[in-house]
Symmetry: C2
């Protein structure tokens, strides 16, 4: 049985996007620097960022994402849809299924539980990745659906924007120490959400 | 010339205290776990947490702190005032200077600039440490007074409380990669604020 993991990049001060996210600026006014770790040329075969990026897909069988992320991502993801697997888009505004090369986008209107169920079924025993946006990640966390969080913290301060952590129940949920890898561009964390201390 | 550094502990979701900070709960309802890294018995002479804790004082000549931190800290810090050096408490409510063993607490009513100047003068060429609270750290960051941030991230989710990062100007302030050390209890970051990429 696969796991469900969030895989998301934030600024040091906890923002997944700068202000004014729109089609021409998917990560807001000055948010493009968040993803340098994904797109810089690998410096060598041991490149940490390249390894971490590969792991996002290594055992992943389906993607569950939010509608805003789809809307701002559709164009940059190009004709093959980038993910190369079944993707489920949680939305309040229905849309017919899209096929882009090896990627399918299915629009789910009947809620988070249904979206997650469909993603798990499509994953066929592999993992389900929740790459964002923040609002969907928050919904999944609130619902206790997340087994693992992979957080990439970029050494930049935004001061404002869309926060990764917001709208959760007050509690002390103790986790174990994370797995950490550091590159020039980001600190990569893996937190296991299933093994509380 | 010494540096000015923030030295503060947060939850994974960015809270320096859980809700309901008061005299009997200096870190809020369920915030005590934030400081296990400081108070657990050292497991061996290479204990990461013990080293990081020592570094807080190694080259520090004065402390600048906020009034709420003083109010909730005064009793737990005990008869020697814990810091063992001149401390300056930024406040709107005046109070006579306190001496507790090797520690002095001077209450500064004429603003942040004055408090920082007094702390630097008292430090006599050594570093000034800003241990909190979050509001004072935010004021110092906004004023561009911070040379280094030492952030200790504890693997716990609070969901609510007092955020470390709040009320800053929107911007993209790119920093270099942090120095990182990992213990069972916390991930210790050192970010240099003076060398933007």
């Amino acid at each position: 049985m696969g796991i469900v993991f969030v895989d998301i990049t934030t600024s040091l001060d906890g923002y997944v996007a700068a202000p004014n996210v729109c089609l021409s600026q998917p990560f807001g006014d000055y948010g493009a620097c968040l993803h340098e770790w994904l797109f810089h040329p690998a410096t060598n075969s041991d490149d940490v960022d390249a390894k971490v990026a590969q792991e996002m897909f290594a055992n992943t069988g389906a993607i569950l994402l939010g509608r805003t992320m789809f809307d701002v991502g559709e164009e940059p993801w190009g004709d093959d849809g980038a993910f190369g697997m079944p993707c489920f888009v949680l939305t309040h505004r229905g849309k017919s299924m899209l096929t882009k090369g090896p990627t399918t986008f299915t629009f789910v209107e009947d809620g988070l539980e249904s979206g997650m169920q469909q993603a798990k079924a499509a994953a066929g025993g592999k993992d389900v990745c929740v790459p964002g946006g923040a609002n969907l990640a928050q919904q999944c966390l609130r619902a206790g659906m997340i087994d693992q969080m992979r957080i990439h913290v970029v050494p930049v301060m935004f001061g404002a924007g869309t926060r990764l952590f917001e709208g959760q129940e007050p509690r002390a949920q103790k986790l174990g120490p994370p797995l950490i890898r550091q590159s020039h561009f980001a600190t990569h964390f893996v937190y296991d959400m299933r093994h509380s201390r």
